[in-house]
C-alpha cells in the first residue's frame, strides 16, 4: 500500500493529496478524506489560537503503526496522514487523513479508524489560547470510547 506520513508546520492541500493517491495507488475508485480544523470556541470560551506540540520520532512511529493496523484489517490502495504542529489560528487546518480503496465502505471505515486511533495514540498535545488564559486541552472520554469500539471489532494494534 502507498503511504505517506507528514508532521509539518505548513498547511496542506487536499487536491495535492488526491493527485498523489491517484498517482501511487493505481485506480482505486474511491478516496475518503477527513480534515480537522481549529474551532473558534471551546468550553464556551472564545479561542484565539492553538499551539501544537509533539514527540518527534514517536509520533511518526505511532502513525505508521496505526496505518499498519488499518492495512491489516481492510484491503487499502493507499493512505496519507498529515498533521500540523506549531502555532495555529481558528479555522486553520490541523489534520488530514486520506484513504484510497476499491470499495467506498472500506475507505470510510479505515479513514474513521485512523482518525480515532490518531486522537488517542498519536503523541500530539494542544495548548489553547483562550480569554481566561492559556490551557492544555484535556483528552476526551468519548475518544477513548470510540477506540474500544474498534478493539471490540478486532483491530490489532
Amino acid at each position: 500500500m502507498y503511504r505517506r506520513i507528514s508532521i509539518q508546520s505548513a498547511d496542506f492541500s487536499l487536491d495535492q493529496t488526491l493527485d498523489r493517491l491517484k498517482q501511487h495507488s493505481g485506480s482505486p475508485g474511491g478516496v475518503c478524506f477527513f480534515v480537522g480544523t481549529v474551532r473558534d470556541t471551546n468550553l464556551d470560551e472564545q479561542v484565539s489560537g492553538l499551539f501544537l506540540e509533539h514527540y518527534p520520532g514517536m509520533t511518526e512511529a505511532q502513525l505508521a503503526r496505526i496505518l499498519d493496523a488499518a492495512e491489516q484489517r481492510w484491503p487499502l490502495a493507499g493512505a496519507e496522514v498529515v498533521h500540523r504542529i506549531g502555532a495555529l489560528q481558528p479555522g486553520d487546518n490541523i489534520v488530514l487523513v486520506a484513504v484510497a480503496a476499491a470499495h467506498r465502505g472500506e475507505a470510510f471505515q479505515a479513514c474513521e479508524m485512523i482518525m480515532d486511533y490518531l486522537k488517542t495514540q498519536a503523541t500530539f498535545w494542544k495548548k489553547e489560547q483562550a480569554a481566561s488564559g492559556d490551557r492544555w486541552l484535556d483528552a476526551r472520554i468519548s475518544d477513548q470510547t470510540k477506540l474500544t469500539d474498534w478493539d471490540a471489532g478486532g483491530v490489532d494494534f
Binding site: 480537522g36 501544537l52 506540540e53 509533539h54 514527540y55 520520532g57 514517536m58 512511529a61 505511532q62 498533521h83 490541523i94 489534520v95 482518525m115 490518531l118 486522537k119 488517542t120 495514540q121 498519536a122 503523541t123 500530539f124 498535545w125 494542544k126 495548548k127 492544555w136 486541552l137 484535556d138 483528552a139
Partner: protein, 82 residues
C-alpha cells in the same frame, strides 16, 4: 537513561529532558519513584491523581514495562491531537 517530558508535564518539570545515571534494568513504575517534580513530590505519587502516560523507546508502555539502561523513556499527559 534519557527521560523526556511533554506538554503540561514538561512545563511542570521545568525541563524537557533529563539524563539519569542508571546501570540496571527497572520497570516504568520503579522509574517513576526515582523522578521528582520541582515540588519534591515523586512522579509516582503525582500520577496517582493525574493521568500520566509512558513510552519506552518510542512505543506506548505501562507501569510493568521493563526499561533498559540505554532506553529512551518519555512521560506525558493523554494526547490531544487531531
Amino acid at each position: 537513561m534519557k527521560v523526556l517530558f511533554f506538554a503540561g508535564l514538561r512545563e511542570l518539570m521545568g525541563e524537557s529532558v533529563i539524563e539519569l545515571d542508571i546501570d540496571t534494568s527497572l520497570t516504568v513504575a520503579e522509574l517513576k519513584t526515582l523522578i521528582r517534580l520541582p515540588t519534591g513530590e515523586s512522579l509516582a505519587s503525582w500520577s496517582q491523581s493525574q493521568s500520566l502516560l509512558a513510552a519506552v523507546d518510542q512505543a506506548m508502555g505501562s507501569d510493568a514495562t521493563v526499561v533498559d539502561p540505554g532506553a529512551e523513556v518519555a512521560f506525558f499527559p493523554p494526547v490531544t491531537g487531531g
